[in-house]
């Protein structure tokens, strides 16, 4: 069914959803990461847990995004990436990402975030050098895209907490799996 109202712009979308205090959000996320570090002790384990948490969030988040933003089917992965960067990030984090570094086939791109509300006030100590602090975001993107039948791999390329100038995550579309009804299952 086509959308009944025209899709909203990023700012209109951000204005229409309930918002929460940014510090509360940042501090809550920081508390989660600290607690995971205390419980799991291994930085790799923490990274995996953050990704899993993000995945669970993403599978639920995507329906809310689709319901509120009224977007229709994206024609190709380029459109998907633009929608995520302009509408998705704006709606949930209040920041817009830019999409860069497309590869030749159009299946891999980078999301660049100049401003990231998760990492306000954060400095990584030397003991946690392998920690992907924002790994939850990669899980969210992976989970959300999986619910709309796109399997992806997301990795972090640049991280401001490690001294780079921006946050960059590389999203690679590995498989597109539309739901096929197996009505020929007697074959």
């Amino acid at each position: 069914m086509p959308p009944l109202t025209p899709p909203k712009s990023g700012d209109a979308l951000f204005a229409s959803v309930d918002r929460v205090n940014a510090e509360l959000f940042t501090l809550t996320y920081g508390a989660i990461v600290r607690q995971l570090l205390t419980d799991l002790e291994e930085v790799e384990e923490v990274n995996k847990q953050l990704d899993q948490m993000g995945y669970n969030i993403g599978t639920r988040l995507v329906d809310e995004f689709l319901a509120k933003s009224n977007v229709s089917n994206c024609v190709d992965f380029k459109e998907t990436a633009d929608t995520i960067a302009k509408l998705g990030f704006k709606m949930f984090l209040g920041v817009t990402a830019t999409v860069t570094n497309w590869d030749a086939e159009g299946t891999t791109c980078s999301f660049v975030l100049e401003d990231n509300p998760l990492v306000d006030f954060v400095e990584l100590p030397d003991t946690c050098q392998g920690l992907q602090y924002c790994n939850v975001l990669s899980g969210v993107i992976r989970g959300a895209l999986e619910m709309v039948s796109m399997k992806t791999e997301v990795t972090w390329v640049r991280d401001m907490l490690r001294g780079d100038d921006a946050y960059e995550m590389r999203v690679k579309l590995t498989k597109q799996v539309p739901e096929e009804y197996p009505y020929k299952d007697d074959d």
Binding site: M1, E64, L66, K68, N73, M147
Partner: protein, 245 residues
């Protein structure tokens, strides 16, 4: 006194509407706000014919829709006036013969929500007609899931998104499938308007109260009180807007 058309664009919960209507009958019409769901309500004197939904002050939580119905008795000429006043793309909802009015008191007969694999996660019926037990509703849900998928295969052109509307002799079935594969469909009276908006509103409620509940397991039957409560409110508002009661 002649029949007076009564315009309310501002959607009250049913009992509030009646309280206000009785209060304002002498003083004039309540303020009309623009609303896409505005409906004209015709009532004839004396006003006590229209009975409030409840005597208590507020609907208690979990009050199922339709626990007590109101009876609006309209004469046939008034009803055709009502039919004419409704927006152009709707048919008259209230039938002209009084004996059919109890059948026509609900616009929606039932609501189904199915997950992406075709399993029924929510079923609610609102009318006394077409009530079915759990097994039948499960069967119907998976049947509809199959039909919806087959229709995409049957399409002569690629890019078909499945069945939006099924019109039968005495009911309509409106279906909305989200991009994640969850289907919301409602069995309603023929010609009931704005069902697509209702389905979108229910989709938003699903994302708000079912998906955001951390204890709700995805693809499982929805057992969230907040979802049921808000759903009942939305359906009630829809009914009040459409049928004016």
């Amino acid at each position: 006194m002649p029949h007076r058309p009564f315009f309310f664009g501002h959607i009250f919960p049913a009992f509030d509407y009646f309280k206000n209507r009785v209060a304002t009958r002498q003083s004039g019409y309540p303020r009309a706000a623009c609303s896409p769901r505005a409906a004209f309500v015709l009532h004839q004197e004396p006003a006590h014919v229209v009975r409030p939904l409840r005597d208590s002050q507020s609907p208690t939580r979990g009050d199922p829709v339709g626990v007590r119905t109101t009876d609006v008795i309209s004469s046939p000429p008034a009803v055709s006036f009502l039919g004419g006043l409704l927006s152009a793309d709707t048919l008259s909802i209230i039938s002209t013969s009084p004996s059919c009015l109890t059948m026509a008191t609900v616009a929606i007969y039932s609501l189904f929500i199915i997950n992406k694999s075709g399993g029924l996660i929510h079923y609610k019926d609102y009318g006394s007609a077409g009530r079915m037990d759990t097994n039948d509703s499960l069967r119907l849900a998976s049947l509809w899931h199959s039909m919806h998928a087959i229709s995409q295969q049957l399409s002569p052109t690629p890019g078909c998104n499945g069945i939006d509307l099924l019109q039968a002799h005495n009911f309509d079935l409106h279906c909305f499938q989200s991009l994640t594969g969850t289907k919301f469909f409602v069995v309603c009276e023929t010609g009931a308007p704005n069902m697509e908006f209702l389905l979108r509103a229910i989709y938003e409620l699903y994302t708000e109260f079912a998906l955001k509940n951390p204890f709700y397991e995805m693809e499982m039957p929805i057992r969230c009180e907040l979802f049921d409560f808000n759903l009942a409110q939305v359906i009630q508002k829809d009914r009040v807007a459409l049928l004016g009661r």
